[in-house]
C-alpha cells in the first residue's frame, strides 16, 4: 500500500501525521502545500474544502477522492450544503464549525445511515491556512464499513474506533 507512514494502520492518524509534518513550525500548512502523491492511496478517502466567508454550508467542495464518490450519484457537489445526507462526505464534514472553533484537527466517528445502509465511520478534519493564522481550507478524510461487518484489514480497520 502506497501511503504516508505505512506502519500506521489507521487512516486518520496517517493523515494527521502528514498534516503535522507538513506544517512544521507553523500553526497550519497552506492548502497548496497538500500533495496528493505524497498522501498516496489514502487520497481516495480525502476531500478538500474551501471555507465559505459567512456560512459553513457555502464552503466549496474542491476535491473528493474516488472512495467517497460512490454515494454521490450526481457527482461532486459545488458546495457543502448540496451534499446529500446519505453520503459519507456529509457526515465526515459534519463538524466543520467545531473544527473552526477549536482551531485544531478534529477526529470524530459514529454511525450514519447512508445510501447502502447503516455505516460505522471515522473521519478527520485538518485545518489549513494560507496566511498562517486564519483557517480558510480544510483537508478531510473518512472511511467506514457497514454496521455488523467485520473490519477489513488496512485502512478500513479503524472505522468506528
Amino acid at each position: 500500500m502506497n501511503v504516508y507512514r505505512p506502519e500506521e494502520r489507521r487512516l486518520v492518524l496517517r493523515l494527521l501525521a502528514y498534516w503535522d509534518d507538513l506544517r512544521g513550525d507553523r500553526d497550519y500548512p497552506r492548502a497548496d502545500d497538500i500533495d496528493a502523491s505524497t498522501i498516496g492511496d489514502d487520497w481516495a478517502q480525502c476531500f478538500l474544502l474551501r471555507l465559505g466567508r459567512t456560512r459553513v454550508g457555502d464552503s466549496r467542495v474542491l476535491s473528493v477522492g474516488d472512495g467517497l464518490l460512490s454515494d454521490l450519484p450526481d457527482g461532486v457537489p459545488a458546495t457543502l450544503r448540496q451534499v446529500p445526507e446519505t453520503a459519507l462526505l456529509h457526515h465526515a464534514a459534519g463538524f466543520v464549525q467545531q473544527t473552526l472553533d477549536k482551531g485544531v484537527p478534529v477526529s470524530l466517528g459514529g454511525e450514519a445511515v447512508l445510501a447502502d445502509g447503516k455505516t460505522l465511520f471515522r473521519s478527520i478534519l485538518l485545518p489549513l491556512s494560507n496566511d498562517g493564522s486564519t483557517i480558510d481550507h480544510l483537508l478531510g478524510a473518512a472511511n467506514g464499513r457497514p454496521v455488523g461487518a467485520e473490519p477489513a484489514l488496512g485502512a478500513e480497520e479503524q472505522a468506528g474506533a
Partner: protein, 139 residues
C-alpha cells in the same frame, strides 16, 4: 456521533499548554500523543479527558496521560542511581563476606608489613643518631 466524552491532546511550550487535537476516541488520542512524543518537537504532551456531567451541565476534565522529556530524563536518572546503589551494595556485601571467612588474614598483611618497615626505619635512624653523636663527640 456522541461527544459526551472527548479527548484533547495538548502540547507544552513557552510555559503554557496548547491544544493540538480533539478526538472522541481515547485510543486515537493516546496514539497521537505517543507519536508527538517520538517527534520530540514539544517538551511535554498530555491527553485530557472531557466528560459531560449531566448534573451540572458542564464538562469535567482529568488528565489521562502525561509525558515529558524531563519526566523521561528523571526516570532514567533514577534508574541509573538505583543501578549504582545495587552495584555498591553488591561490592560491599562481597567484601564483608570475604572478611568474615576464616583463614589467613591476607587483607591485613600489607598494613602489618608497613608498620614493621616503619619500626625498622625508626630503629635504624635512632641507632644512626646515637652513633653520630658518639662519633662527633669523640672526634
Amino acid at each position: 456521533m456522541s461527544t459526551d466524552i472527548a479527548y484533547e491532546l495538548h502540547s507544552f511550550s513557552s510555559g503554557r499548554w496548547k491544544i493540538q487535537g480533539f478526538f472522541d476516541d481515547r485510543d486515537l488520542a493516546l496514539s497521537e500523543a505517543h507519536r508527538m512524543e517520538e517527534a520530540r518537537r514539544f517538551p511535554a504532551v498530555r491527553v485530557v479527558e472531557e466528560r459531560f456531567d449531566p448534573a451540572t451541565g458542564g464538562y469535567k476534565s482529568r488528565t489521562v496521560y502525561r509525558s515529558s522529556t524531563v519526566d523521561q530524563h528523571n526516570e532514567s536518572a533514577l534508574k541509573e542511581r538505583a543501578d549504582t546503589r545495587r552495584e555498591v551494595q553488591a561490592t560491599r556485601s562481597a567484601r564483608t563476606e570475604a572478611a568474615a571467612k576464616p583463614g589467613k588474614p591476607e587483607s591485613s598483611s600489607p598494613a602489618l608489613t608497613m608498620i614493621a618497615l616503619k619500626a625498622v626505619l625508626l630503629f635504624a635512624l635512632g641507632f644512626a643518631a646515637i652513633w653520630a653523636i658518639n662519633h662527633y663527640a669523640g672526634a
